[in-house]
């Protein structure tokens, strides 16, 4: 093992945080669906990938990247809501039949992936980074604006989601539906509509995440395969129902997967190992995650 260099370590950390921000963004999409339906959506990564292609397509026809991103988020919203309507809702109440719904999201994972290949082929597309390719060097560490921008957008995103969930009527309705769909319906909440909105919002967040992931990873149908695993590790660590948890978890997973293998030689060959280790340790030690709520009920 070579000597420890601080600038090198800082550089790895920065890369880790930049990637971690993307895991956090995809994780936030998972949390949104979990908080509005109480379920894990395994197709979240693929929906994000598909929505990112929509962003790319809009950019391709001439829109500037930021406008294409917003457009892709709107189209993604429709795509996500449509998938729920067509594929998930017919399976019935997810609370009486959770396995069916989870299996369907795995089916969607495969279906959406194939659909993207069918439409856009298998080659890599180039998506321009929203904050450009420039950067600066501080204390020997090179910092690019795209990473700073990604972290800033992530902070903005989580703050906005926090406000929606905790300060708006629709956010309250989403949490109510996740907690008890039948009671929510009896209280006058249009449950199906709320779940559709949850899926739509999650897909929009996926378009956002993909727009930041694609420039460095290359836009193709496997854009989110690895990211999803790392995002699952992130929300397991942070807590499935916690927005802050997704962010903290994402950043920690980013650091763990980008920094540790640089110093522990054999991990280079198994880059996902730290993520799996995190999932395993959290499930053993603190199953509800760092920020998740422990469900306590008196009957």
């Amino acid at each position: 093992m070579i000597g420890f260099q601080l600038t090198e370590f800082a550089q790895y950390c920065l890369i880790g945080l930049g990637n971690g921000a993307i895991y956090a963004m995809v994780g936030l999409g998972l949390v949104v669906i979990f908080r509005s339906t109480g379920l894990l959506n395994f197709s979240q990564g693929e929906i994000a990938m598909f929505s990112t292609f929509l962003v790319w397509q809009l950019h391709e026809v001439g829109l500037p990247v930021w406008l294409a991103m917003l457009g892709g988020m709107v189209l993604g919203f429709g795509f996500g809501a449509m998938l729920y309507r067509v594929a998930v809702q017919p399976a019935g109440d997810p609370h009486t039949n959770p396995l069916a719904v989870v299996i369907i999201t795995i089916g969607l994972f495969l279906g959406v992936n194939s659909l993207a290949q069918l439409i856009w082929g298998t080659g890599d597309k180039d998506l321009e980074p929203l904050f450009g390719r420039d950067g600066f060097i501080v204390a020997g560490v090179s910092v690019d604006w795209q990473k700073i921008g990604t972290l800033a957008v992530l902070a903005f995103e989580v703050a906005l989601l926090y406000l929606i969930f905790n300060k708006t009527k629709i956010g309250l309705a989403m949490r109510a539906v996740a907690s008890g769909p039948e009671s929510s319906a009896l209280a006058g909440i249009p449950v199906t509509q709320i779940i559709l909105i949850g899926w739509g919002v999650a897909a929009s967040l996926g378009a956002l995440a993909g727009t930041f992931a694609a420039p460095s990873r290359g836009l193709n149908s496997s854009l989110m395969l690895q990211v999803l695993v790392l995002s699952l590790a992130a929300i397991t660590l942070g807590g499935f129902d916690s927005l802050v948890g997704a962010v903290v978890g994402g950043l920690i997973v980013g650091l763990a997967t980008d920094v540790i293998p640089k110093y522990v030689g054999f991990l280079d060959k198994v880059p996902l190992a730290p993520a799996f280790a995190i999932i395993l340790i959290v499930l053993l030690v603190k199953p509800e995650g760092l920020f998740g709520s422990k469900r306590v009920t008196r009957v």
């Binding site: 009527k169 309250l172 309705a173 949490r175 109510a176 996740a178 907690s179 008890g180 039948e182 009671s183 929510s184 319906a185 009896l186 209280a187 006058g188 909440i189 249009p190 449950v191 709520s293 469900r295 306590v296 009920t297 008196r298 009957v299």
Partner: protein
């Protein structure tokens, strides 16, 4: 015209028919009880009325046909349903549960109503910011009733409030509902196994057997009826 007119209601689960042509009415501001043994179809009646299970027949509320409407539309129209087992949203705080009850409202009186219910039920006020799932059964029943009243209903469907509660607590729940009904002029249709208590509270009652109304009358008549005393009030006591 009655506030609620249910005529020839049929409903069931899958191939099993539970309700075989049930008819009843509830007047504005009236308290009505449906009595019946386990499996008579009490809960099914309320679920069918709320659109939670498919049903045929007719249910006119304020003269408008409501059967088959989505449950959230019924709430908006003025029918609130307190489900069996209370339906507490356990992950939400007490205050949030109450706020959910006001989902269909668009006026600015919601905060005022929450404060009011926290005064009416001081236990809810004390636990306002706690997760509702942590409360006792009786407290959760109070919360479920307060949540239903948050929609400012004209009719409350109350499904077996005594379930799982100690007799003293049940008594308290009934007393509070009685006060509320008198104060707000809300009509209540309650299904109960505890006939003695329910008939003291209600003005009228129906007896449900195998999905049909077999006896109906004023609460006093039903309390005096020998066959009902035998079947639902614990022998000749």
């Amino acid at each position: 015209m009655s506030l609620l007119e249910v005529t020839d209601l049929h409903a069931g689960y899958g191939m099993v028919n539970v309700l075989a042509g049930l008819s009843l009415t509830v007047d504005e501001g009236e308290s009505v009880v449906i009595l019946g043994a386990n499996g008579a179809g009490k809960t099914t009646t309320l679920r069918a009325m709320s659109g939670m299970i498919p049903a045929t027949g007719s249910m006119r509320f304020d003269g408008v046909e409501m059967l088959g409407r989505r449950v959230d539309r019924l709430v908006a129209a003025g029918i609130a349903h307190v489900p069996q087992g209370r339906g507490t949203l356990v992950d939400l705080t007490v205050e949030e549960n109450l706020r959910v009850g006001a989902y269909t409202r668009h006026d600015d009186g919601v905060d005022g109503d929450i404060n009011r219910w926290c005064e009416v039920f001081p236990r809810l006020g004390q636990r306002r910011d706690q997760a509702a799932g942590l409360m006792s059964g009786g407290e959760q029943q109070m919360l479920a009733i307060a949540r239903a009243f948050m929609s400012r209903p004209r009719l409350v469907l109350l499904d077996e409030p005594s379930l799982g509660l100690a007799p003293l607590v049940t008594r308290e729940v009934f007393d509070r509902v009685d006060e509320l009904v008198k104060e707000t002029g809300t009509a209540v249709l309650i299904v109960e196994q505890n006939a003695n208590l329910a008939l003291q509270f209600a003005a009228r009652g129906y007896v449900l057997e195998s999905g049909r109304i077999v006896i109906e009358g004023t609460a006093d008549d039903l309390l005096a009826d020998d066959s009902i005393r035998r079947a639902y009030l614990g022998g000749g006591a």
